[in-house]
């Protein structure tokens, strides 16, 4: 072999091997006896740092149940959301039970295994703002949302729900002004100043909104019925069909024996896993 072939051949083999991930995740999990799960660490009650400095929440408990089924330990990693949805995890993480909603862009780099709960979207306003009964009355008013979230896209009348039985969305409002925030907490801080001061309402999901309302009694209230429902799926890095199949089977078992429903009631107050 020539000088350069000897140097480049291993690199080429490495590049080719990177495409053959099948079974690699399972080998790694079995070998280390450890499942590595990623969560968004700032998303109570789905995933958050509790008083004893451990990650806790609905997503975390579901991951623990999966790890228990597989007979391995669970380790939780908290990289930023952008890193997770960029794909190409390179074996750093095994799965993402992290309240992810599927869309075409994410599907290019991740594999979505199965839905595990539904997120109803609700409008939240201050407790004093008793007049507000539905989103129709918010014409010309400002609604706070997390930047880049599906709630922002809904207010832009540009939301596609990635579920096989999804009906076309109706947008029963006109001229609602969108106030994007880096995160939900900032939106709720501004809402707490009073409806109409900076914003009039916040559009968020029932899970996080209920948790917030429980902790801060008397400050906010939920307006009317949920506007739409989004399914949240479990995601893994692209290119490992064996892992995907095993994970799907495990989740189906957890659903059948009522574990998912039980956890949903524990953390979210009702069963959102159907």
């Amino acid at each position: 072999m020539t000088f350069w072939m000897r140097r480049c051949a291993p690199l080429l083999l490495l590049a080719l091997a990177a495409h053959c991930l099948a079974g690699e995740t399972l080998d790694r999990i079995q070998g280390r006896k450890e499942l590595v799960e990623v969560v968004d660490p700032d998303y109570p009650p789905f995933a958050f740092l509790n008083d004893s400095n451990h990650m806790d929440g609905f997503d975390v408990d579901v991951a623990k149940a999966v790890a228990q089924r597989l007979g391995v330990r669970l380790r939780i990693e908290t990289p930023s959301w952008e890193l997770v949805i960029a794909g190409h995890w390179r074996g750093r993480w095994d799965l993402c039970i992290c309240s992810m909603t599927p869309d075409q862009r994410k599907a290019q780099v991740l594999d979505f295994v199965a839905p595990y709960y539904n997120s109803p979207a609700v409008l939240v306003t201050t407790a004093q703002n008793t007049g507000l009964q539905s989103i129709r009355e918010l014409s010309g008013k400002r609604v706070g949302v997390e930047q880049g979230s599906s709630y922002e896209r809904y207010l832009q009348k540009d939301l596609v729900i990635a579920a096989p039985d999804a009906k076309a969305l109706s947008y029963p409002f006109n001229d609602v002004r969108i106030a994007p925030y880096a995160n939900e907490d900032l939106a709720f801080q501004d809402l707490a100043l009073g409806a109409g001061r900076r914003i009039d309402a916040v559009l968020s999901n029932l899970g996080t909104a209920s948790a917030r309302l429980d902790r801060m009694r008397g400050k906010f209230r939920i307006v009317g019925e949920p506007l739409y429902v989004e399914p949240n799926w479990v995601a893994i890095d692209k290119g490992d069909p064996q892992w995907s199949a095993l994970l799907a089977r495990t989740l189906a078992e957890l659903k059948k024996d009522g574990t998912l429903a039980r956890l949903s009631v524990k953390w979210l107050g009702k069963d959102l896993t159907q």
Partner: protein, 259 residues
């Protein structure tokens, strides 16, 4: 006189500090804050306990990453400064490209290029080495300009005197110029170190549990966001004051030795 003029000056400065701190405290007191949630989480924020995976967290992690990055940055900065002063086209080209790229691109982009980009070529770096590498490369570029200015600032007469004594370029640089340049490089380098300490919060994108990550996570899980962020700010401030004392001590030592 009860007190020397310097003592009286220091007393007045202390009074100014005290009144400013009181004003800040009064400003913050008007926020309706509840710091009880901070008390239980404070040891974790400081890094006095390990996280559930047995890894360093909090201020201890930030300090580790910052000191390691600064050490490497000083080496890189010196190399790049000498490269830019060199007559070799390769050294000059490398140094100027390195300076331009690592000062011109955002630190976050650099961290991600190392953490996400390097695996494309094979090696998959862990979070702490990737963070230290990115911070060192970025701050090395800034330090190189500081070092170059300090080197150029040494009296040209020193070069001539060394040449007259028959010293080689390398020996002159090492034994005459650099020791003198060191003194004027200390204040701006100290400032860079303080800046690096706060930039180290960017390593949280890779999942490291440093101060800002913990403060934000606790803040969001306890719904006491501002209290936790204020606590993080105070921790950074105290660490920076520590670095300021270190810098002052170093300047004092150099003044005593070289006058």
């Amino acid at each position: 006189m009860l007190m020397s003029p310097q003592g009286f000056f220091r007393l007045r400065v202390l009074l100014v500090w005290a009144s400013l701190l009181l004003a800040f405290a009064a400003f913050v007191a008007g926020f309706e804050l509840d710091f009880s949630v901070v008390r239980e989480r404070f040891p974790n924020l400081l890094g006095l306990r390990l996280n559930p995976d047995g890894a360093l967290q909090g201020a201890a992690l930030s300090v580790l990453v910052s000191f390691a990055a600064m050490a490497v940055a000083i080496v890189l900065g010196l190399a790049a400064a000498l490269g830019k002063l060199s007559r070799s086209a390769i050294a000059y080209g490398l140094a100027t490209f390195y300076n331009s790229f690592f000062r011109g691109t955002p630190l976050l982009v650099q961290i991600l290029l190392i953490y996400l980009g390097l695996p494309q070529l094979g090696p998959v770096p862990a979070a702490i080495p990737a963070g230290i590498a990115a911070l060192a490369l970025c701050y090395g570029a800034y330090l190189s300009e500081i070092f170059r200015a300090a080197i150029v600032g040494v009296d040209p007469g020193q070069w001539e005197a060394a040449q007259a004594l028959g010293m080689s370029q390398g020996a002159t640089m090492l034994r005459v110029i650099l020791p003198q340049a060191f003194k004027s490089a200390v204040p701006p380098t100290g400032a860079m170190f303080i800046s690096l300490l706060k930039d180290s919060s960017l390593v949280s994108v890779m999942g490291l549990w440093e101060i800002m990550f913990l403060a934000q996570s606790y803040g969001r899980s306890s719904y006491r966001y501002i209290e936790l962020l204020l606590t993080a700010a105070v921790i950074y401030w105290v660490l920076s004051i520590g670095l300021e004392f270190l810098q002052a001590w170093l300047e004092q030592r150099l003044r005593a030795r070289h006058g």
